[in-house]
Assembly symmetry: C2
Homo-oligomer: 474 residues x 2
């Protein structure tokens, strides 16, 4: 796989289907004020955090119930018009763009926590509940939902993209933490998948089929999630390293030893510099690991000692520790503000994020060569990583008015993905395929596996109305 | 759901398709001595550990490579003849029976550990490798594969049935521990699913679709699994309780507190009595929990103290502890020998096993009423359970020559499943649907979800040749 020589693959294929006035009328008649065709509303629903552009959807339906979703899907289906589910709009890969036209189904008003089963460590929520909202609402139970992709994303959207983030190294991803779903299928029927039992061998794993299907098989209308007891003790630490390699090799050893670390995040020295400027911090301009340990007081102490020992072997120093929530928040400032600090470091820029994930032993190989290439390119970038999972993100900071920069950045990403795949990794650890990685998916999974995905899609959505044009072309 | 009044639903529907002599000739020509039509071989491949019966397959192909599997599937497909994958034959639900005729593809000779990636905690094996074989072959790496369904099952079969067992409470099931697969599809093509990366959002989760698909979508020809460091410290304990309820309530509290217990198994007093007789043990004739703790020495100590405290609150006593492998094995004798001890307690009997799994808070409700019903029925039984997961098994010990007993036992199971479903549980925690639970699956998942499974099956296997007649009827 070589760097692209043209931009053609970077521009999404725009093939809007006709949206007949009869559909708009039917939606307005059924939904009244819950249906909007105002340009500003449509435009807001026709974009996400990616840098792609497409004409906005023809209408936005603000669903307030599963019935609303089902009716909207059925009406759209009668006219063979696409439907695109919308949560909070935090997708990074163009999932929300109406590349084949259609209507947006906004589920943000479906934001109720339906039932908390604290004694079973489960909760059932509507898809528009965000992860922060959930954790606030369940705080009194002593439980929490650990998946933290950074953005305060909707849980429906997180399920749809198989999201994960900083806590995944210990608690897994949406794949492991969704117990069951309610989904409106392409025919407008609501089905349930899974039960509240912790495990089951009852037939095909439809739950896992919908988790990560990016809205292409159905609209998620309820999510049942696993919760965890808030750890008795939580301890956070930051530690500087003489090189990215040293930080990564320390991480690899922590994981290989089976230390149940809850978070281990890398920030490179570029990003430390940006964060220092943005948040008025005085962090050493060196690559840094941010870590968190969850467990009993004795367990946390033991983990922390082990990790400190390993870090020291690799030249880690300037350890800072925090145990109270306030101190922990302060330590994590650098990580939480990295994106905004980076964006502000180059006024007017847009970030394109990479998302490769490789087996942990290959992390240094994958990362170090890509750092070298990024440095040589001259493109400013930030680098953060859920390194305990082998997952990291370069954020290339581009002048949106300079197509050359974009071409260079996409070339860097191409090389990075090719490298990750040659190291038995994946082109996307947690952001999804969307519009951006359709070509990479074929290289990664093989034509036969992608054809199997298409066969499933065609069988379950014969009119191709569920978020068409994402993951693969049909 | 009422107890059945006839046995009709217990007899699998036998609809053998014609196996043309041309296919047998083609198989013999392609496979030579690797293809057998000897009656004894066919009969051995036409049954499993279930109590169902069907005519044996027309031939058995002993595959030695993915190519062999692909060729066998392709040849069978040309004649629209079913193929049934066979590992070691330990299915409990009739998965291996040739209810629609066809040929058996025995993968037990595909028993190589292909690559151990100790530094990534992954291993790739052929499907005929058994779990014990795997653990023996990787012992020197300091890693182990935790999933332990009791039988020394093949890893391909364990993936196909989404198996779990005693360690699942801590390490998860095959759902969580399969990273990727190679599968021969209905068209005879080999595809790969997943990568060795720990997480991925790259398209539909085909890995999870095949895990638990019971051979109905393809034949698994390679499995990539997660491994874990052998814990620094392992400690085991047994503890007697005054009642099943006390043992179960202690377990519920352990789980709700988030204690990372590695195993917590229930044995009822019937079974203790059987094991005492079979293995010449002197265990108290009381319900018993068997537990195992994995971690650092301090962590294990801490877990054990917490659990001992909880157990004592519920009247747990007669604690016995073991830390060396030999002592642990001795303590676990009761659990390991439960099945055989039970079978021998009633010479000539056959066991029918239940497999419900419910949310942990519902475990006592589900279990205690069913114990009462089983006691009142007069049918001898044993009762063991992976209670930390809410999963347990009654084994009804039946006189195979007395249809009345079978009817009573199936009636007990019907009531138990109905109860588990009303408590938001599943009819099968780990054994799979097979022939036995097709009716239960519709009640559990709903007609719409089962129709979605059928739609996927039809799309991926249009000639219905992959282990047809299992999970659902088409």
């Amino acid at each position: 796989m070589n760097a692209p020589t043209t931009l053609s693959h970077l521009v999404p294929e725009i093939q809007p289907r006709e949206v007949p006035p009869a559909l708009i009328e039917a939606l307005q008649s059924r939904f009244g004020a819950q249906c909007s065709t105002a340009l500003a509303v449509r435009e807001q629903h026709g974009r996400d955090e990616s840098s792609f552009q497409a004409p906005p959807p023809a209408a936005v339906v603000f669903a307030e119930s599963t019935r609303d979703v089902a009716d909207a899907v059925r009406l759209a289906g009668q006219h063979e018009v696409p439907v695109i589910p919308f949560g909070v709009g935090s997708s990074l890969e163009g999932h929300l763009l109406a590349v084949q036209g259609g209507i947006s189904i906004d589920v943000s008003r479906m934001n109720k926590v339906l039932s908390v089963n604290a004694e079973d460590l489960t909760v059932t929520v509507q898809p528009g509940v965000t992860r922060k909202q959930l954790n606030e609402e369940i705080r009194s139970t002593g439980l929490f939902f650990p998946i933290d992709p950074g953005a305060d994303a909707s849980l429906g959207g997180m399920a749809a993209t198989r999201a994960s983030g900083t806590n995944a190294v210990r608690y897994g991803t949406m794949r492991e933490n969704v117990l069951g779903l309610e989904v409106v299928t392409a025919s407008g029927e609501a089905i349930r998948t899974g039960t509240r039992a912790k495990k089951s061998s009852a037939g095909y794993d439809l739950t896992r089929l919908f988790v990560g299907s990016e809205g292409t098989l159905g609209v998620i209308t309820e999510v049942t999630l696993r919760l965890y007891p808030i750890p008795e003790a939580i301890s956070a630490a930051i530690c500087s390293f003489p090189s990215i390699e040293a930080a990564v090799r320390a991480t690899i050893q922590v994981i290989q030893l089976g230390v149940p670390i809850a978070r281990v995040e890398l920030i490179d020295q570029n990003t430390v510099r940006m964060v220092n400027a943005h948040s008025k911090l005085g962090l050493r301009i060196e690559p840094m690991l941010l870590m968190e340990f969850h467990g009993s007081p004795a367990g946390v102490k033991e983990q922390a000692e082990t990790v400190q020992e390993i870090a020291s072997e690799f030249g880690g120093n300037a350890f800072e520790w925090a145990t109270t929530p306030e101190e922990r928040t302060r330590l994590w400032t650098a990580r939480h503000n990295a994106y905004f600090a980076a964006i502000q470091s180059r006024p007017g820029c847009r970030a394109i994020s990479t998302d490769t994930c490789v087996p942990i032993s290959r992390l240094a190989d994958c990362l170090l060569d890509s750092v070298k290439e990024a440095d040589e390119s001259g493109i400013p970038y930030f680098l953060v990583g859920h390194v305990g999972d082998g997952n990291f993100h370069f954020g290339y900071l581009l002048d949106p008015n300079d197509p050359k920069e974009r071409e260079i950045a996409e070339g860097l990403n191409h090389k990075l993905v090719a490298r990750a795949l040659s190291l038995e990794g994946t082109c996307t650890g947690e952001h999804g395929v969307g519009l951006h990685k359709m070509g990479f998916l074929v290289t990664e999974a093989g034509a036969g596996a992608v054809e199997m995905m298409r066969t499933i899609k065609r069988a379950l959505d014969p009119r191709n109305i569920m978020n068409p044009g994402k993951i693969f072309s049909l």
